[in-house]
């Protein structure tokens, strides 16, 4: 028979341990190892019938930062599709990728804002797979607000 006295200690200890365990695991999970992009799935495209996800769907940056953006192309069952052409059209600046076709189902690129444009504004980047276009709005804000 379990006495009532050690129960609070047991409960408290277990909670502490579980918290600690979650702390240990959660950061690793959030690094995105093998994880699927979380955003809405757009498509199907024509004629390929692909589905498109873009991550992140929102970017806030200072003009000298270089955020990364990932486009994932998958089939109807969610499996990654290889060698699909993805094009990018930024409203300003440049967006560079190592490959314009999917590798491992994704294309990863880096956005660079127009040189010298430190005025606050909203730019956009259009990622296109066949006839589906997904727009990412990029809020460019001052690095320092107090001038």
């Amino acid at each position: 028979m379990i006495s009532a006295k050690p129960l609070p200690l047991l409960v408290a200890g277990t909670l502490v341990c579980l918290g600690w365990l979650a702390w240990s695991i959660a950061p690793s999970a959030s690094q995105g190892r093998g994880s699927q992009l979380a955003g809405h799935r757009y498509g199907p495209t024509t004629p390929g019938g692909y589905y498109v996800r873009v991550e992140p769907r929102a970017i806030t940056m200072a003009n000298i930062q270089r955020p990364q953006l990932t486009v994932a192309v998958e089939n109807a069952t969610g499996q990654p599709v290889e060698d699909v052409l993805v094009t990018f059209t930024p409203s300003e600046g440049t967006f560079t990728t190592s490959s314009s076709r999917t590798r491992g189902g994704t294309v990863v690129g880096t956005f660079v804002a127009a040189s010298g444009s430190d005025s606050p504004r909203t730019a956009f980047l259009v990622a296109a797979v066949e006839d589906v276009e997904v727009t990412v709005f990029i809020d460019i804000v001052p690095a320092v607000f107090g001038r």
Binding site: M1, A26, A38, S115, D118, S119, P120, V141, G146
Partner: protein
């Protein structure tokens, strides 16, 4: 072994076991030994020539004052270096420090004073270097904060320290550097944050707001090319708490929609927002309630040869002058004016907004609570129409032309509405990557609203000048961004 001993031992073993896994996780997968240090910043050298009202102990920023009569032409140049260090031991954690040296100003022909924000504006003449900077100090901390991904919930992160913060509504409500903390969530189509801010008040900013800010903001991507956002801000005035028998407050409820449309000319970025504001408090000399609205719609089309954009904004106001509305006492009077803490970041106008040419910040958009703030026309509200354009005339040179019509939503003490018309023309030359030179000017034709207007005087009590000058400003700005 009895149950009384067994369970503590089980708990102890569990704790020890998990400590091992915790240590393994911390040392290997989460925080590797390599520490990544990113260093960057910018250096700026600029010149300003203008006939705006000069700095004065009663207010009036050097480059951001207001029309005066037969104002002297003055010019100065200054330098500023900003440096930052970003320590990123992993993608999950970041420590950021940003400092500023300057602005060190030379020339200007004005005596030391304070600008409309309360910052000191000393002038360092030839041979007298070593003094404080134009904003009161020579070396200062701009940002210092810690940011890390929170456990348990992917996409949730924490930021705490001193950092810049501005709203998404052309910074109509709030934009400055604050001490505070922020909880941010970004995952999939959702981005949201909660923020608590305390104004970063110091010896050189003794007339600062000194209030508590609470904000919650969220945006959702509702389709391939459209996002919607909603925001709530609450401001608690600590400075006047206890002087009125209640704690003054303001709140703002706002919503925004941004969308990319297609047209025969090219893609059009459309942005519209609406803000409702209500509060009760003490602003300048008035004790009472206020309610107001601020709506804006803008569209920018990308053409083959450049971009062209329009913006129309309406901010509710109340007829009369501050002096009339306030009655010279703290009596309870309700006004229909929209109030905000800050506004200076429209895209385009140099004088009405934060100048894109020379980056001078006070303009007609000074903070509330100051004697001569023309924030959005103050209690008279505003109707603002902006036409802006940018044309890449050469691969490394772009030309920018802007026009703006500025009108009060309600008449001033003299029944006048017309505030003025502004024209701007400037060019940017990208000399090398990250090194650029910007030069040009703005001209503001003052309307009747400024004539004999007590809201347009240094004190805010006496009448303004009967024949205010048209304002002009010419500037150059050489800047190198690095890192």
């Amino acid at each position: 072994m009895t149950a009384g001993k067994t369970y503590p031992i089980v708990v102890l073993c569990l704790v020890l076991g998990l400590l091992v896994s915790q240590a393994w996780s911390q040392n290997l997968s989460v925080f590797p030994k390599e520490e990544i240090l990113l260093v960057g910043g910018d250096f700026r050298l600029r010149s300003v020539t203008s006939n705006m009202a000069g700095a004065n102990l009663l207010g009036g920023g050097e480059s951001g004052g207001f029309p005066t009569q037969d104002g002297a032409t003055k010019s100065f140049f200054d330098t500023r270096l900003r440096l930052y260090w970003d320590f990123r031991p992993s993608d999950l954690l970041r420590v950021h420090y940003r400092m500023e040296i300057g602005d060190v100003r030379f020339g200007g022909g004005t005596e030391n004073g304070s600008d409309v924000t309360g910052n000191l504006v000393p002038v360092i003449g030839p041979g007298s270097g070593g003094g404080v900077g134009a904003d009161g100090v020579n070396v200062e901390t701009k940002n210092i904060f810690l940011e890390f991904a929170m456990p348990f919930l992917p996409g949730l992160s924490f930021r705490g320290g001193i950092f810049g913060y501005g709203d998404r509504y052309d910074f109509n409500i709030i934009a400055d550097d604050f001490a505070g903390f922020q909880l941010l969530y970004k995952r999939g189509d959702v981005e949201a944050h909660f923020v608590y801010l305390k104004f970063f008040e110091g010896d050189t900013r003794d007339n600062a707001d000194d209030g508590n800010w609470f904000g919650i903001d969220g945006q959702f991507q509702i389709s391939e090319a459209t996002r919607a956002a909603a925001t709530f801000y609450y401001w608690q005035d600590q400075e006047h708490k206890g002087t009125l028998g209640f704690t003054p407050y303001q709140y703002w409820i706002a919503s925004e929609v941004t969308s990319r449309l297609t047209s025969g000319l090219g893609p059009v970025q459309v942005k519209g927002y609406a803000i409702y504001n209500h509060g009760e408090g003490y602003f300048g000399r008035r004790h009472g309630q206020n309610s107001g609205a601020n709506v804006s719609l803008s569209g920018d089309v990308s053409l083959n040869f450049g971009t062209v954009g329009l913006q129309l904004q309406y901010i509710t106001g109340t007829k009369g002058s501050k002096l009339q509305l306030e009655g010279g006492s703290k009596d309870s009077k309700n006004i229909g004016a929209w109030l905000g803490y800050f506004n200076r970041m429209y895209q385009g106008p140099e004088i009405i907004s934060l100048g894109p040419i020379i980056d001078v910040g006070d303009g007609f958009s000074s903070k509330w609570g100051t004697g001569n703030g023309f924030y959005n026309g103050d209690y008279n509200g505003r109707l603002l129409f902006i036409a802006r354009s940018a044309f890449p005339v050469l691969p490394s040179v772009s030309l920018h032309a802007v026009g703006a019509y500025d009108r009060a939503a309600a008449g001033n003490a003299n029944g006048d509405y017309n505030r003025g018309v502004e024209f701007d023309l400037w060019a940017q030359w990208n000399i090398y990557p990250k090194l650029w030179f910007r030069f040009g000017g703005g001209y503001y034709i003052t309307g009747d609203w400024w004539k004999n207007n007590p809201d347009a005087s240094f004190t805010g009590r006496g009448p303004g000048v009967p024949h205010p000058d048209n304002i002009w400003q010419f500037g150059t700005r050489l800047q190198y961004d690095f890192g």
